[in-house]
């Protein structure tokens, strides 16, 4: 089953710009997670936001959650070339973590 859907599928920006990725999901959740994947590597957990939270920060990352719209956004501020990667949202469903298709971010120096 597919729970999270990211938008856009691909994003290309210049270094120093902000990058915003969106995620929509279908069912009620108790948390939503964002992961990053460098090309050909495993996924790395970035941030978890609980259903009773509206916003969360971690360094240059800012995540928002709107449970009424069943959507979340990931903002990366002052992007760097090293931020180039795929970003996935993931939501729990039936006790398992279900991932979206991801947003491929390219940050050009």
């Amino acid at each position: 089953s597919q729970q999270g859907e990211e938008d856009p599928q691909a994003l290309s920006i210049q270094e120093g710009e902000n990058a915003t990725m969106n995620c929509s999901y279908k069912t009620s959740i108790n948390n939503l997670q964002w992961y990053r994947q460098n090309s050909g590597r495993g996924l790395v957990h970035l941030i978890l936001i609980r259903s009773n939270e509206r916003e969360k920060h971690s360094g240059r990352l800012r995540v928002t959650l709107d449970t009424s719209k069943k959507s979340s956004s990931l903002l990366i501020t002052a992007s760097r070339a090293a931020d180039t990667a795929s970003y996935f949202c993931a939501t729990p469903e039936g006790g398992k973590l279900i991932f979206g298709q991801g947003t491929e971010l390219s940050v050009k120096p």
Binding site: Q33, G40, G42, G95, K96, F99, G102
Partner: protein, 114 residues
Amino acid sequence: SQTIHQWPATLVQPVGSPLSLECTVEGTSNPNLYWYRQAAGRGLQLLFYSVGIGQISSEVPQNLSASRPQDRQFILSSKKLLLSDSGFYLCAWDRTGLATGELFFGEGSRLTVL
């Protein structure tokens, strides 16, 4: 600290040959273990998960099987590979289960079936 290992990292196999991918976790006990598959340019598809030794749940009917012979070992197998089995296989574990916390992923095994 906890670590997760997957091997082999890369595998090229002919159609009809068997498969065995291994995953081990160190530094924790009773982890929940997962196998995901990622097709090129796509998201992750959950294949199997396990909450304990010998306990395997299959998410998608397919040509693959999984086993957990030891607490921290998870194996993905096939008796006869198909072309459609090609992909990037990721093993993961978590502490809390029920998707309430983060998943820790291995570095993946890239399988090409020719």
